[in-house]
Structure formats: structure tokens, C-alpha cells
């Protein structure tokens, strides 16, 4: 294809061209406005960067073709009807195009999130190298603050949140018997926003004054007085947040409107319930972090005074307001980063213990209880913030009470294991590892709810320990479990179970050795977010650093296993785990439109141990009723995957 044609068709060439145009637009707009307003100098690098940070990513998305259909439709040109020719991926190059197939998008999401996991993990190695000895090492304090800020931001906004969206993107439509997500084009746009947000965060290292260094919490007025790099965070959050919200809406509509016949809410697999709950949280909460960062953007770039309250300067901004708005998102975000994992664990435990989930309805209701209660606990992050003291008491009580639905889930999982036939393979090991580590994180969470204790350990390494038990021992364990569990379905290949077990044991042991002692350090008084610490903490910090390097190395086993198995692992059967949910009733990987015949759901998703029980059959509803009326001896042969 000639270059001029490439520049006109959606793709990387046009995206590059549009980026240049986007930058030119930003440059021109800033120069024009400054010239009209008699501002000097007319060419202001900071202002141009801010506008370009917004214009260039949008230009990129348009150039890639993420919005072509809508533009054609809006200006009345004939839209190209979706002939599905773009569905599926035949070579690795297909993953670098805008694709509307939920299975391709699921893999795009998952793989790019894992890219950011490895980048964020490398930053963690830098952090631990710096902290291996007391006194300053190779990073300056500014660089250190930047490294841990980018570490946290990448792993929260570019790994944990999107990787769950990625896994659910792949399996959720299959689980509910749908051919795709409700809004495939919106789905593609949601994905392509993400790498832009991640690269923007990484690019902040190149900004004059270094990367953003106010932590992932970006408390004002520290964040509003930071150098330019801070704005890379502020704007990247808008991109990642928009992606999150769009995906959540997509999930909600998909779950509500596209379930197969017979799939009532109480026949949905718990992963679907979990993503339904998570999406509710995202849709309601995420606009708050967007707002908090817009306020920071206005304060920084246009000299608003939302958070400007300098003593003696006569300014009456409200500093604590930032923290309230921020945590009103960021506490529910903790559940956004955990509920999908709960869903994954429920799937795996039922299948691997060969038993129905114990207390299915309570499992679903407890998810909804967490959604509601999740919005009532945010200020427990602010017990020492100087907010009105009475708020601490109701927040302590709600925070303690939210442990009840979480406890219901833990106990129900334990009861699911009881008297099962446990298949102790890699996904199951990660699920059991999750149960123990997450329980510890939950217990330290209840301790943190208790105000007088929280006052002592708040802002210390105890918090670092707690958040890593919850996000590493909790979320990441469920992510590994889920990736191994659905690996055969997603890639059509089996992974190496022996390497998987090595991965589990090294991860489990070294994660506990890394994050466990941090509780002690925090209680002894070591503050978090310090580039340097008192000599008395030296021994444990060295120990933690060494264990963290081993923990980092353990992920290489995973990387090797996944890459080697994807390239040359044994072919996976349609249903290697003998699972009942619908995604396992089609071939691995699934056919391009998921189901050749629309499935009809005739029973619960976890009816293990009941002779002849099935969840779904591949017949129209009328025939399905006849076939199952009175008779249970009807099973779906694996050959249903015909295509």
C-alpha cells in the first residue's frame, strides 16, 4: 500500500500523522491564546505540554480508527456495516489493531496489563534496592519519590483494575452465552485508552523536574505545587478512568441484556455476579477520582485555589476536601480491585473441589452488600488527617461491619472445600494461597479500622504491609489463579503445571517473607514513602529487600511458562477441568462468534456431584424444556463445540 493510502486508512501510520497534527493543534492553540491574552512568553513549554497531553492521545485514538464508525455516522456518510471480518486474531499483528472481538480485546487487555505488571515490578526492585541499606543509595529523594509513585500508579491503574477487566472481557460473554459484549466498538476504545495512560505515566520520567512524585494518592497541595511531571499523572488518570467507566457500563449492559435464555440472575456464575458488582462500583465511584484530578489540574495550570490554603496568605482553599473526594473513589477502588478476584476464586474452588459453591445466594448478596457498604467507609483512610473527629466513629463501625460480608465469603469458600475432591493443580494452589494471605490482609484491615490503633500505624510500613497483603496476596494471587485457569481457553494450549507449582510456591513463600516483616517495621515506627531510614530498621530492611528480589525472580518462572506454553504447549481440550460453566462447553480457543447454537441454561452453574446435572445445553428453549422435563440424564457432549 502506498504511504499516502496508509496515512488515510485507520492504523499506526495514520495515528502517527494525527499525533503530529494533535501536537501542532496544542502548540497553535496555546500560542494563539497567549498572544491574544498578552501573555509572555508566547511560547510556554509547560502550557503546550498540558494541552498536548490531552490532544495527542485523542488524536492517536482517532488515527487508530477507534472512532471512525461514529464519525461516519455523525456526518451522514455511509457507515461500513460490521461484517465481522475484523473479528478474531490470526497473527500477533492482529493484536496491534483496533479490534471489536471481545476475545481479542480480552487478550489485548490482559497482555498489556501484564506488561505494566513487569514494569511496575521492576520499579519495586529499584525501591527495595534503595532501601536495602540505611542512608542514601543510588537514587536521590526526588527520584525515589517518583519511583514509588509510578510503581503504585501503574500497578493500581494499569495492572490490577484493567487485568480483571481483561479476563472478564474474555470469559464473561462466554459465561452468559452471549456472542460478544453489548458495545464492541466502545469496548475497543476502552482498551486503547489504557496503554496511552500507562505510557503517559512512564513518560513522566522524561519531564523536566522528574516524574510525578506525590504518591499515587497525589495529596494536594503537594501535587499542585509539583513540577510538570505531576500533570502526566493527573491526565493519565482521566484516560484510565474513562476506560474503566466505559468498560463498566459495557459489562452492566451486557450482563443485564445479553444473558442466554434461562440464565436468570441466580443461575449466573459468581464471576458474572462479581463483575456486575464491580461495574456498579466503577460507574458510581470513578467520576470522583476524575473530579479530584480535574481540580488538581485547574489548580496547577490555571491557578484556581481549590486546595490553596497557605497559612498567612489569606487563601481559604480546603485541603482536606481533596482527601475526601479522592478517597470517595479510592476506597471503593479497593473493592474494584478485589471483587472480580472473589469471582475468579469462586469459579476455581467449585470446579477444583468438585462441589457446588457453598451458600451461592449469600455469596451473591455479600457482593452487593460490599458494594453498598463500600461507599460508607472512605474516611477510614483519614483518621489522622485532621478532619472533624466525630466522623471517625461511624467510619470505624462501617469499616468493621464490611468485614462481615467478606467473612461470609471466606467461610463459604472453606465450606466449599470441605469434603470435596481437591485437584491440587496450579490454579487451585493460587486460590488456596489467596485464601490464607487475604485472610491476613483482612485481619490487619479490621485492626486498622480500630481508631486508636490506626493512629499509631497510619502512614507507616504497617500500611504498606496491609495493602500488599490485600493487593498482592489478594488481587494478584487471584489474577494468577485466573490466568492459569483460563489459559487453555484463551490460548488453546495447556500450561506446564510443574512450573506453575514452582511459581506458586516461590511466590507464596517470598511474598510472605517480603511483606510480613513490614507489619513489624511499621509498628516500630518506620514511616512509609521514605528514601532513607533510621539505622535501627537496617536488619529487617535488608532481609525484606533480599526476599523481594527472590519474589521478583519468581515471576520469571511465570513469564517463561506462559510464553513457552502459548507458543508450543500441548493443545488444550475444550473442557480440561470438567467445568460446567458455558465457556468450557465450546472449543479452546472458542469459535469466532462463541456459540454456533444459542445455549439454553437449564440449571445452576456449579451442580457438581449431582448425577446428570447440566448448566446449559445447546438447543433452543422449547426443545430444552422437553429434554429436561422430569429427566436429569441429559448431558452436553463435548462435541458441542462443532464449528
Amino acid at each position: 500500500m502506498a504511504l499516502s493510502a496508509k496515512l488515510r486508512t485507520p492504523g499506526w501510520y495514520r495515528a502517527a500523522l494525527y499525533d503530529v497534527l494533535g501536537f501542532a493543534f496544542a502548540f497553535g492553540l496555546v500560542v494563539l491564546v497567549r498572544w491574544l491574552m498578552h501573555q509572555h512568553p508566547v511560547i510556554d513549554g509547560k502550557a503546550i505540554t498540558i494541552v498536548a497531553l490531552i490532544a495527542v492521545p485523542l488524536a492517536f485514538l482517532i488515527g487508530m480508527g477507534a472512532a471512525d464508525y461514529w464519525f461516519y455516522w455523525a456526518i451522514g456518510r455511509p457507515t461500513r456495516a460490521e461484517d465481522h471480518s475484523a473479528h478474531g486474531a490470526h497473527t500477533w499483528r492482529d493484536y496491534f489493531r483496533v479490534n471489536t472481538d471481545h476475545k481479542v480485546i480480552g487478550i489485548q487487555y490482559t497482555v498489556s496489563s501484564f506488561f505494566f505488571l513487569f514494569v511496575g515490578g521492576l520499579l519495586a526492585m529499584l525501591i527495595r534496592a534503595q532501601l536495602a541499606k540505611p542512608g542514601m543509595q543510588f537514587l536521590t529523594t526526588e527520584q525515589y519519590n517518583g519511583v514509588f509513585s509510578v510503581h503504585a500508579s501503574l500497578l493500581i491503574f494499569l495492572f490490577v483494575i484493567p487485568v480483571f477487566a481483561g479476563l472478564a472481557n474474555f470469559v464473561l460473554p462466554l459465561m452468559i452465552g452471549a456472542p460478544d459484549m453489548a458495545f464492541p466498538r466502545l469496548n475497543a476504545l476502552s482498551f486503547w485508552l489504557l496503554p496511552l495512560a500507562g505510557l503517559m505515566m512512564l513518560a513522566s520520567f522524561l519531564a523536566p523536574g522528574g516524574s510525578f512524585a506525590a504518591g499515587w494518592t497525589a495529596y494536594a497541595p503537594l501535587s499542585t505545587t509539583m513540577p510538570l511531571g505531576q500533570l502526566f499523572f493527573t491526565i493519565a488518570i482521566q484516560l484510565a478512568g474513562a476506560s474503566s467507566i466505559a468498560t463498566a457500563l459495557n459489562f452492566l449492559v451486557t450482563i443485564i441484556t445479553m444473558r442466554a435464555p434461562g440464565m436468570s440472575f441466580f443461575r449466573m456464575p459468581l464471576l458474572v455476579w462479581a463483575n456486575f458488582s464491580t461495574s456498579l462500583l466503577v460507574v458510581i465511584a470513578t467520576p470522583f477520582i476524575a473530579a479530584s484530578q480535574f481540580l488538581v489540574l485547574l489548580d496547577t495550570s490555571l491557578h484556581f485555589h481549590f486546595f490553596d490554603a497557605y497559612v498567612g496568605a489569606g487563601k481559604n482553599g480546603n485541603v482536606i476536601m481533596y482527601q475526601h473526594v479522592f478517597w470517595f473513589y479510592s476506597h471503593p477502588a479497593v473493592y474494584i480491585m478485589m471483587l472480580p478476584g472473589f469471582g475468579i476464586i469462586s469459579e476455581i474452588l467449585a470446579v477444583k473441589a468438585r462441589k457446588p459453591i457453598f451458600g451461592y445466594r449469600m455469596m451473591a448478596f455479600s457482593l452487593l452488600a460490599i458494594v453498598v457498604l463500600g461507599f460508607t467507609v472512605w474516611a477510614h483512610h483519614m483518621f489522622v488527617s485532621g478532619m472533624a473527629p466525630w466522623i471517625r466513629i461511624p467510619m470505624m463501625i462501617t469499616t468493621a461491619i464490611i468485614a462481615v460480608p467478606t467473612g461470609i465469603k471466606i467461610f463459604s469458600w472453606l465450606a466449599t472445600l470441605w469434603r470435596g475432591v481437591l485437584h491440587m493443580d496450579t490454579p487451585m494452589l493460587f486460590a488456596l494461597g489467596f485464601l490464607t494471605m487475604f485472610t491476613l490482609g483482612g485481619i490487619s484491615g479490621v485492626m486498622l479500622a480500630m481508631v486508636p490503633f490506626d493512629i499509631h500505624v497510619s502512614q507507616t510500613y504497617f500500611i504498606v504491609a496491609h495493602i500488599h497483603y490485600v493487593l498482592f496476596g489478594g488481587s494478584l494471587m487471584t489474577i494468577f489463579a485466573g490466568v492459569y485457569y483460563w489459559f487453555p481457553k484463551m490460548t488453546g494450549r495447556m500450561f506446564d503445571d510443574r512450573l506453575g507449582k514452582w511459581h506458586f510456591w516461590t511466590t507464596f513463600i517470598f511474598a510472605n517473607l517480603t511483606f510480613g516483616p513490614m507489619h513489624y517495621l511499621g509498628m516500630q515506627g518506620m514511616p512509609r514513602r521514605v528514601a532513607e531510614y533510621a539505622v535501627q530498621f537496617a536488619g529487617w530492611n535488608l532481609f525484606i529487600s533480599l526476599c523481594s528480589f527472590a519474589l521478583g525472580a519468581s515471576t520469571l518462572i511465570f513469564l517463561y511458562n506462559v510464553v513457552a506454553s502459548w507458543r508450543g504447549g500441548p493443545r488444550a481440550a475444550a473442557n480440561p477441568w470438567r467445568a460446567m460453566t458455558l465457556e468450557w462447553q465450546v472449543s479452546s480457543p472458542p469459535p469466532i462468534f462463541n456459540f454456533d447454537a444459542v445455549p439454553t441454561v437449564v440449571g445452576g452453574p456449579y451442580e457438581y456431584g449431582i448425577p446428570g446435572a447440566v448448566h446449559g445445553i445447546f438447543k433452543p428453549p422449547v426443545e430444552a424444556q422437553k429434554a429436561t422435563a422430569g429427566a436429569t440424564a441429559f448431558s452436553t457432549p463435548p462435541s458441542q463445540e462443532s464449528h
Partner: protein, 271 residues
Amino acid sequence: MRKHPLLQMGVLGAAVTAVLLAIVLSIHWFPTDASTQAHNVRTLYDVLLIVSVPIFVIVLTVVSYSAWHFRMKPGEEDTDGPPIHGNTRLEVVWTALPAILLVGLCAYSYSVLRSNEKTHPGAMVVNVTARQFAFEFSYRNAAGREVVSPDLYLPRGRPVVLHLRSLDVVHSFFVPQFSEKLDAVPGIVTTLRITPTRAGHYPVECTELCGAGHSLMRTGAFVVSPAAFHTWLSSQKPNGPPPVGNPPKAAAQPGVPGSTTPVANPKPPKE
């Protein structure tokens, strides 16, 4: 062996609980306590441990016991477990019991908080000013004149009220041995109450990320005998002219424990 798995597990769990409790209660988690508040927090933590360890052991024991006892044996590849869908009585128990336990812990924590933040008439007032990247402690000497120190000096046994201000970004005042911490927030004055009980030299740390110098924003807290404190205070050179009217208590009456008093234009300390 297969007859009483629950009993077997109960015995195992009780043994593990006993051992774990003995271990975690003997660890010196906290630095030496040097205030009444710190003493209360340590007792609270012991109670939290005693409640938490059995819950963790339940999870740990059921997981390990199941992994060992219910593991798939050769020949069971196509076997499923019994189709147990739930047990309402059990589910009510594990919803209600934790709820009661948690409300109990909240009530106890609340009483500790009340006692830790009790107001004491005649408490000594220290004004703390935080800035990037230092603390400054301001006292009134016997003549009512301001004395400023980079270190915190406190007389043992006398309740003290700290009024915290910030000149730039959010900082946080923390002395691990006092188990008390509070942010210094631009635009408002926050109040912290401490009753030091043990003489010694303790670190004052900034625990809220405040910029490049955050990790070095540390100073000392000296708890000394009342006589030594008096000597120290009168030996310090006062700052500025004697006060007019009664400014010492002007900003020092917010009253409620840990309260925040919005101050439109708090007076910056004189240099």
C-alpha cells in the same frame, strides 16, 4: 481416622492457636511506651491479637487440612464431592458471630479513644509548626514570651496539648513511643493530646509525604523531669517582644479532643 475429621481438625486448630498466640504475644511489636495513650494502644493491640489469631487459624487449618485430607487420590479423577449447597444455620452463625465480635471491638476501641483524647484542664500548650522540611515547637515561658525550639521538650507526667499548623503542604507529626499522630494541614489548626509518662529521647517523624526532603524530616522529642523542663524553658532565649493582651490562649481553645478549628488566617510564627 476418617471418622472424626472435624474433631481431628479442632484439636489441631486449638494446638496451633495456642502456639501462635504464645508467639505473637511475646513479640515486642511496639517500641517502649512513653505516654498513657501508648499504654492503652498496646493493650488494645493485645486484645486484637487474641481475637484475630483464632480466626486466622480457622482459615489456615481448614485450608491445610482440606488440602491434605480431601486431596484427590488416585482413581478419583472422575469423582465429584457431595452436592452440598449450603446450610442456613451455619451461614447465620458465621454472619452473626463476627458481627457481634466486631461491634464489641468497636465499642472497646471507642472507649480507648475517649480516654486517649480526654481533655485536661491546665494542660501545657505547645504550638507546632511544620514546613518543608522541619518542625518548630513554640512555648510560652514564665514571662509569657514565646520560646521556639527545633526539638520537642516535654515535662514527664503533665498532659500536653499540641496545636499543629503547616506553612506549605500536609505534614504529619508522629512519635512512635507516644502512639499518637496527627496531620498538620495548611489553613487549619489541628489538636493532639499526649500525656508523656517515661523520660527519654524519642524520634519525631513526619509521616505524610511532603516532598523531596520527607524522609529527612525528623527531629527529637525529649521527655524530662518537670524541674529539668523548667530549667530548659527558662534557659531558652525568648523570641520577639513580650505579648500584648492575652495571645497565649487565643488559638488554643478548640476544646474538643483532636478537633480542627478553621482559622481564616492563622498567625505564622515570628522569625
